[in-house]
């Protein structure tokens, strides 16, 4: 393994997140099993108190998941000097198969935790815990994902071997690995992707606004916001990064969060993550509009979610367009 302070911090964060979620899921299971809203028994009172603990834990996990996502990329970036051929985080993540799987899981778990909080918020507005079972079922689904993420992350970091000089032969593995780790990421052609991005973004925003105003097409928007999220990530690799780096060949989606590019990546990714969580949140909550105890507030809340999702995507598009217009790179 590579014993590096940042690696230790990553593993610590992963284990803590897993621990918190498994702990929360354990009590979640108890709630699923023994919940009886009509009862005034002490067990029920205890379970109701546990819901506070679980929401607090999930809130922290959500924040932790976001921070650790960025920390993970930072770590990958700072480990690059250890590996032959790795130029930036993209290369380090290629060191083993686990690198990118962990990244994908981190994003997925962040979105799941965000959706759980959306569901939790809606549930807290109803006077009879209307979504309690769904909420804890979702929790039971998230927990294994976090655990898998932790296991893969451990495998990734613990399996790392730095390419250092060994006493027998100096430079041999440099040549063995001459092909090395590709620092470049497979990317789709820039120009077609650019049109796809703006096209789909236009549809997404239009659907979102239509839903916000007319209250129809919510599921469509939820699906589109997920599709848009993926397209946006692909676009970052395919053409947005090119304009930010002002290099026609550097497609790395990670370097943009580094100091050299004024940390612009943080803003881009935060907008994107916020947009997708609130966008899918719309779809998650739509089926519950008819629940008695939620009738009055849910429509308003879903509207707010849709609006914030649309605004975040709009801000993302504006930022991307700004980068493209004021970039020195011309394609």
């Amino acid at each position: 393994m590579v014993l590096h302070p940042t690696v230790i911090a990553n593993l610590l964060a992963a284990y803590i997140a897993s621990f918190m979620l498994v702990y929360a899921a354990f009590y979640g299971a108890q709630i699923l099993k023994y919940w009886n809203i009509q009862s005034g028994e002490e067990l029920q009172l205890i379970l109701e108190r546990k819901t506070y603990l679980i929401s607090t834990l999930l809130g922290y996990t959500f924040g932790l998941q976001l921070l650790s996502l960025f920390l993970y990329i930072f770590t990958a970036d700072s480990l690059t000097p250890l590996f032959v051929g790795a130029m930036c985080a993209a290369g380090t993540l290629n060191v083993s198969h686990f690198g990118y799987s962990v990244l994908v899981l981190k994003i997925l778990n962040f979105i799941l935790a965000g959706l759980w909080l959306v569901l939790n918020y809606a549930d807290n507005q109803g006077y009879d815990y209307p979504l309690i079972k769904k909420k804890y079922l979702l929790l039971a689904i998230i927990a294994p994902f976090i655990v898998i993420e932790t296991l893969l992350e451990s495998a990734y970091f613990l399996g790392m071997r730095a390419d250092v000089i060994t006493s027998c032969c100096g430079s041999l593995f440099s040549s063995e690995n001459a092909a090395g780790l590709g620092s470049e990421i497979a990317s789709l052609p820039a120009l077609p992707m650019l049109w796809t991005f703006y096209g789909v973004m236009f549809c997404t925003l239009a659907t979102g606004l239509y839903f916000y105003i007319k209250g129809k097409g919510g599921y469509c928007y939820a699906v589109l916001s997920l599709v848009m999220f993926i397209i946006a990530l692909v676009s970052v690799v395919s053409f947005i990064s090119l304009y930010i780096y002002e290099l026609p060949t550097h497609h790395c989606p990670f370097c943009i969060i580094m100091e050299d590019y004024h940390y612009i990546g943080y803003l881009l990714y935060l907008l994107l993550f916020g947009a997708v969580v609130s966008g899918i949140g719309v779809g998650i909550l739509l089926p519950f509009r008819q629940v008695d105890s939620l009738k009055f507030m849910l429509t308003g809340f879903i509207g707010k979610l849709a609006l914030s999702s649309v605004l975040l995507y709009l801000a993302f598009t504006a930022l991307v367009s700004y980068q493209i217009v004021f970039s020195n790179l011309i394609m």
Binding site: V2, A13, Y52, L53, L82, I165, C168, G170, E259
Partner: protein, 414 residues
């Protein structure tokens, strides 16, 4: 939204005043917390900037060094190898080096002895006179070596010494330094200059000596040199060139500069990580302490929370209050710890860790590090300190927040 902000303001105000009301308890926690952050931060700042320093200096090192290996050990290299290497396509220049170690019994320290490289642009140098005795300060500038000489010429019978050596032996320019040569004779060499302090990390224990004196001191024949440096035209061809050298001279071991950098990086990471593993016991102790503090509510605090809940605060309001409490304590401790560590490492020369992290040599380099802190370090530090604290306090906070509101009705005595 406005009322939400107003509510948070009320809660923060109340949290601050209740923190101040329990000064003694909270100051104890704060001091310990700050100390933990301080130690970890000092360590990270130190290893990080020393790593950077080393990398910066190594940038001036030769791209490829070729050594000869006999029976798995570094051995003297016949000068003939130079021609073989020069003939390899892609090699711009190659030059021999003479260097070694000298153990000084008097002060129990190892010096590094080095013959400064010479101008090798002239191609008509015959095999036997490859290493010229005339050191030229110009060539020092050209090849950007590991050390800087202030323009003094090195002549036979003189040496230029690093600052560490000067400090240890308490000698300066003009003094004589005795050496015991391979055959038992004493050689007295005159110190004509000391190396500049800029690159002290590598030049602290360095001694520059003429080739003639070097060979006399160690009894090395003119046919041999210690190793060779190679400059490659196209840096991306370096691995190919190294492979070719290895193929033509099976006894040679080419070492690429990037590999040295990587090894350095790895060693310093390892040392930093090791220190954290060692200090994790301290962090763990602190976490247990924090857990204990958070769960062992005094009767007064339980009563206060009971009153708050009785007069209309909800469990989540109390959790929010405790969240702000944790945030205030954590951020205060984190920033004071980081600032203190910054002062400790970059202004005071980190007296606490110097011996542990810089190296094992008796000749400690004495140099001030360039302040260098980045977000990655701060995030790591945050994860290693604030995260464990926060997690340790979640369950105690929840316990405190779920005190029955009607407990306030049952307080009878004061």
């Amino acid at each position: 939204m406005n009322s939400w902000i107003e509510k948070q303001r009320y809660i923060i105000d109340f949290t601050l005043s209740s923190l101040l009301r329990r000064k003694v308890k909270n100051i104890g926690l704060l001091v310990l917390y700050t100390l933990i952050v301080f130690i970890l931060a000092s360590m990270m700042f130190f290893t990080h900037s020393i790593k950077r320093e080393a990398a910066l200096i190594l940038k001036g090192a030769p791209e490829v060094v070729v050594q000869k290996i006999v029976a798995g050990r570094h051995d003297l290299m016949p000068i003939e190898y130079l021609d073989t290497i020069k003939k390899i396509r892609g090699v711009a220049t190659a030059a021999p080096r003479l260097w070694g170690y000298y153990y000084d019994n008097l002060v129990k320290a190892n010096y590094t002895l080095l013959v400064p490289p010479t101008q090798t642009t002239t191609t008509n140098i015959s095999r036997t006179t490859v290493v010229e005795n005339e050191p030229n300060s110009q060539s020092v500038d050209l090849t950007k070596p590991l050390y800087e000489v202030n323009g003094t010429k090195l002549e036979s019978g003189t040496i230029i010494i690093g600052n560490g050596v000067a400090r240890l032996r308490q000698i300066a320019k003009g003094d004589y330094m005795p050496f015991l040569s391979f055959d038992g004779n004493v050689m007295n060499l005159k110190v004509v200059d000391t190396l500049s302090a800029q690159s002290e990390l590598v030049s602290s224990d360095l001694l520059l000596i003429t080739e003639e004196d070097f060979r006399k001191l160690f009894g090395i024949d003119k046919q041999f040199v210690t190793d060779m440096t190679v400059v490659v035209n196209n840096p991306s061809e370096m691995p190919t060139v190294a492979a070719k050298i290895k193929k033509r001279l099976p006894q040679a071991r080419p070492i690429i500069r990037d590999e040295i950098l990587r090894t350095y990086e790895s060693i310093f990471n390892w040392r930093g990580g090791m220190m954290i593993v060692i200090f994790s016991a301290a962090v763990l102790a602190f976490v247990i302490f924090a857990w204990d503090k958070a769960s062992g509510l005094s009767a007064g605090e339980r009563r206060e929370i009971g009153i708050l809940k009785a007069v209309g605060w909800e469990t989540s309001d109390v959790i929010q209050m405790k969240f702000w409490e944790g945030a205030i304590i954590s951020l205060t401790a984190f920033f004071s710890g980081v600032i203190l560590a910054y002062i400790h490492v970059f202004f005071m020369g980190s007296p606490v860790f110097e011996p542990a992290l810089k190296g094992w040599s008796a000749l400690y380099p004495n140099f001030s590090l360039t302040p260098f802190v980045n977000i990655e370090q701060l995030t790591t530090l945050f994860f290693l300190t604030v995260l464990p604290y926060t997690v340790a306090t979640i369950v105690p906070i929840w316990r405190a927040a779920t005190i029955d509101p009607d407990s306030a009705m049952r307080f009878t005595g004061d």
